[in-house]
């Protein structure tokens, strides 16, 4: 609200010399009424949507603490705190899956940022004719989704397994492709919001190198978009099941599904924890993205 009044103040000042004109006088009052209405609508919509999204979470909490007899038990949560209370086999599986997924999340974001950001900027600046080609490639994983792509990955990962290793970390190369459409759309929105061409031409005419344009002009201006693309990538990797399971690799999701058949309460409790951790991480990252934008 403080920012809303902040933006309207200079406008009121700018309008005051035009006092004889009718809209100038009724403007601020109209805006105030609209803002009150908007605030009310905002809360109604948010609360309704929130109810839909919170109910399954509450149900998960209920499910993890309730035995079939209706009695309450904290055993599932004690296992979450201390994996030692788990069956040793389940514990090994889960620890391995968790570690793999975290490594994969980092590698996927690195692949995405290092390949996509410079390429998209470069194409905008120097090869505008290729924009459609790059966009087509980036959106291709929507036409060829994971369940389809995994069929084609099968021989490729057999080759990697034979010549390099069967480690689950290789999944990062597949995940880099799976995040392309979401990362592309986020970055494209960011790049469209700024006039990259004019800004880079200004920087170049002032003697900046291309690397300087990239690092000092483009990246700071689309920091929010890059953060957004990274959020989506991390969330996608932590939730990925299809490719890992059909290529017989172990990640967080596949290990949770395996554990869930024997211990559904623990698996559900663990899912909730994973979700909350991801949520906290992304919330912190949003703060970083916003601070950068504010500084700009």
């Amino acid at each position: 609200m403080a920012e809303m009044t902040g933006t309207s103040a200079p406008l009121v000042q700018a309008e005051s010399p035009l006092a004889p004109l009718r809209p100038a006088r009724s403007g601020p009052r109209l805006r105030a009424a609209r803002r009150r209405r908007q605030a009310a609508i905002r809360w109604v919509v948010v609360v309704l949507v929130l109810a839909f999204f919170v109910t399954p979470m509450v149900s998960m909490v209920d499910f993890t603490t309730r035995l079939l007899s209706g009695k309450r038990s904290g055993i599932a949560w004690r296992k979450v705190v201390d994996f030692g209370q788990l069956d040793p086999q389940a514990k090994d599986l889960l620890v391995d899956g968790l570690r793999t997924s975290l490594i994969l999340a980092v590698l996927t974001v690195v692949i995405m940022v290092v390949l996509l950001v410079p390429t998209m900027t470069w194409v905008r600046l120097r090869l505008p004719g290729m924009t459609r080609t790059i966009e087509f490639i980036c959106l291709l994983p929507l036409i060829i989704p994971a369940i389809v792509l995994v069929v084609g990955y099968y021989p490729i990962y057999r080759f990697i397994g034979q010549h390099f290793s069967t480690s689950s970390v290789w999944l990062a190369l597949a995940y880099g492709v799976l995040v392309l459409p979401y990362a592309y759309r986020a970055l494209d929105a960011g790049l469209s919001a700024i006039d990259v061409k004019t800004m880079s031409e200004a920087a170049r005419s002032l003697g900046s190198s291309w690397a300087g344009v990239m690092w000092r002009i483009v990246v700071p201006n689309i920091a929010t978009a890059i953060a957004g693309a990274a959020f989506l990538s991390v969330a996608l990797v932590l939730g990925e099941f299809t490719v890992a399971s059909l290529l017989s690799k172990n990640n967080l999701q596949t290990s949770l599904v395996l554990v869930s058949s024997a211990d559904p309460r623990f698996a559900t409790a663990m899912s909730l924890v994973v979700l909350l951790l991801a949520f906290l991480l992304l919330f912190v990252l949003t703060f970083v993205g916003n601070r950068r934008r504010a500084r700009r």
């Binding site: 403007g27 290729m130 929507l142 792509l149 969330a235």
Partner: protein, 303 residues
Amino acid sequence: MSAPAAPVAATPTPAPAPTGRGGRRRGSAFVGTVPFLLYTGLFLLLPTAIILIGSFQDGSGGFTLANIKAMGDPATMDALWNSVVLSLVTAVVGAVIGGVLAYVLTTGAPGGALRRLVTAACSVLAQFGGALLAFAFIATLGTNGLVTRALASSLGITIDPNYLSTLSGFIPVYLYFQIPLMVIVFLPAVDGIRPQWREACETLGGSTWAFWRHVGGPLLLPPFLGSVLLLFANAFSAYATAATLVSQYNPLIALQIRGALISETGLGAPNFAKALALLMVLVVGVMMALYYLLQRRASRWLR
């Protein structure tokens, strides 16, 4: 934002920069895209080629149309129809709810806690597919779910124990990732609507309706329709949640692929999964062709 805009208005044709450009740099400019093209070539185009060629091959690698003909059976056609209906319903409902939520968020303070919280939540929930989502809804609407028990004890309504394995049961589950995806995808577009434009419209005597009819609506329609297509593709290609919810039969086309893939490693028809994959690609391909048309229209506005 106004700072970079000012030079654009002042100098529509930037004078000093073009001197360095020309044919000499065309080749070196192309080199900049090589790493990206190499990577996507190996991990996106190569698997696609494997699927495309495989759909027309029999067990020994010879050309055949048997895989394509095998898709005419009622089970596959039913699955395709179910997938299209489910995707369409969840895309439209998700886009409307998500679009309203996105708009409502932009009317608040740009750096506000509410907006940060919702954005962060959406980026997690949009990818909250897979088995975890199935766990969540089994805990909610399953036989022993919280909502199931609450409805039974308070209103006497019994939810069918198999509800979550039915097509209508998939709708709330799919909306759980469709709505957040819509918010993420649509928020940048709504952010593009500047309050100054609204104020300009009012200064000229325009009503709220006039603003949405002549400024907001036309600007947001192409990105909105584009988002609907994206959501359709997202639902159509979702696999893990449905796979966890239904293990007995394969009511969706993505699950048919799972079935064909499993039987392929056994004694089933070779390469039938690849043919099904091709069918999926064709359906989503039509959506994407429409999306491209919309994009071209939207980019006309941006110039």
